[in-house]
């Protein structure tokens, strides 16, 4: 079997492509782009939630949040490792993030303005991520699929914690309840936008489906997410900010108002509330850390007997 035929056979048999297997260049580069964007999102995603660690209202909540943000760094690590199996280096990936050549999820370009945002992110943003990512656990590329199994398990845990935290606020004082509702009002549409543009406008999708990287369309996943959230919002006693939201008996789904995709595109292109802040933060950490990385490399080289004077 030549490379192409073998690849097609593995895909057809719903088996996994592994790093040393032959694969089409476009498959490889598309996966690199997707995994890198996913990894970068974990890295940048540490910022909005990290913003509340120092102010968490109890020590227990502080520990939960700190552990969650640590998990995000860990997810970044697995995902970079998965991308590296495709022949790109960590340094190249980091540079692509810092230079803006590769993107991260636009959801992290919104600010966390109150403690309730931590809960809302857990519920809605992690919830949307899970809906997006669960199918990726069956993705045709082995290392990515395996990384996603671990990531999804942890994300589900975070999502339940976020929901529970928001539930406590929704049952709390009038101020806490207002804080929770305000957070949901602000995070609902950005979360819906996480599934990407409507199917009609989506690039990359058809080929991704054929290669079994992607398994459902953007709109299918978005609908799944809406259907999941509506009853959860009812239990919370919070209102999803969409007057058009109602059960459609015929479709067996909730009808909902689509997010403003023009806004999504503005944010993707760099003009969200926090794009500049998030990138400046990441660049600064990278730049201020340069001498540390150099020192570690110099020390390692000396230890390996490769002293250069």
């Amino acid at each position: 079997l030549d490379g192409e035929a073998s690849f097609d056979a593995v895909i057809a048999a719903d088996q996994k492509i592994e790093p040393r297997d032959a694969m089409p260049d476009a498959y490889r580069s598309g996966l690199i782009r997707q995994i890198a964007q996913h990894a970068h999102s974990e890295i940048i995603g540490m910022q909005p939630e990290g913003n509340w660690i120092s102010r968490a209202p109890t020590l227990r909540r502080k520990a939960i949040l700190l552990a969650k943000v640590q998990d995000e760094a860990g997810h970044g690590l697995y995902l970079y490792a998965a991308a590296e199996t495709l022949g790109i280096s960590r340094e190249e990936l980091t540079d692509a993030l810092i230079s803006g050549k590769q993107k991260y999820s636009s959801i992290f370009n919104y600010p966390t303005l109150s403690w309730a945002d931590v809960g809302a992110i857990g519920w809605l943003v992690d919830g949307a991520a899970i809906v997006n990512q669960v199918p990726l656990c069956r993705c045709s590329y082995g290392p990515y699929a395996r990384a996603m199994i671990r990531v999804c398990k942890e994300e589900s845990f975070h999502q339940r914690q976020g929901y529970q935290s928001l539930y406590v606020l929704a049952q709390g004082t009038p101020e806490q309840r207002a804080m929770a509702q305000d957070a949901v009002d602000r995070w609902w549409y950005p979360s819906l936008a996480m599934f990407g543009p409507p199917d009609a406008d989506s690039t990359h999708s058809a080929q991704s489906m054929a290669w079994k990287v992607k398994r459902f369309s953007n709109d299918e996943l978005r609908q799944r997410f809406v259907d999941m959230c509506v009853p959860q919002a009812e239990i919370l006693g919070l209102t999803l900010p969409d007057p058009g939201l109602r059960w459609n008996e015929e479709r067996g789904h909730y009808d909902y108002t689509s997010p403003d995709f023009d806004e999504l595109m503005r944010v993707v292109k760099g003009d969200g509330p926090c794009n500049r802040q998030r990138m400046a933060h990441r660049r600064r950490a990278h730049e201020e850390g340069a001498w540390v990385r150099e020192a570690a490399a110099a020390y390692a080289a000396k230890q390996n007997g490769k002293v250069t004077v």
């Binding site: 540490m46 020590l59 502080k62 943000v69 640590q70 690590l77 201020e288 540390v292 150099e294």
Partner: protein
Amino acid sequence: MSELLALGDDALIAAQRLSEWVSRAPTLEEDVALANIALDQLGAARLLLSTAGDEDELAYLRDGPQFRNCLLAELPLGPARGDLDFAWTMAWLLLLSSAQLLRYTDLAASDDELAAGIGAKTVKESTYHLDHAHQWTLRLGGGTDESHRRVQEALDSLWPYAHELTEGIRDRWLALVEPILAEAGLTRPADRWQPEGGRTGRHTEHLGYLLAEMQSLHRAHPGAQW
């Protein structure tokens, strides 16, 4: 149990300082490691504070002069210093975790069952923290001229604060730390200035700002559940 409260405050304030590093570390691995050490400190703080009362009342409703942490713990690390000087943080962690390891070792040998249990758990963690600081001290001390200069400067500035931190365990502490400094090619600073006051509630001006931020949300909603 006032020693447990002091150790708990050390761990709580250290956790707060360390967690300021989150998303700002020089490598992703180090982001994970610093968050992990912060989590351990926070976990230790919760165990230790709980021996003295309600952990949240103690953390969120005391004013500065009621805190008993040593001054070292409250000194601004990279982010609050307006820089992200990792050498400063590693020198700080070396001094702090070595003293914590000794205190926790003593705790583990205590007759009090509760204290001994806390000690047994925290000894393991601070062994790891000290090892982490040790490895970085070697890397920075033996890495580049810049890293050597930075870690030596940080050590010189922080060393006086170890006086208060190591009260009663000074010799054992020196026996732990001096070999690490020698191994890293660093000069052990002289013992001169000996600032203290944390154990009696006379802190630096830095603690007030740390507490203002840490307690802000809790205090803004008196009596609320979270």
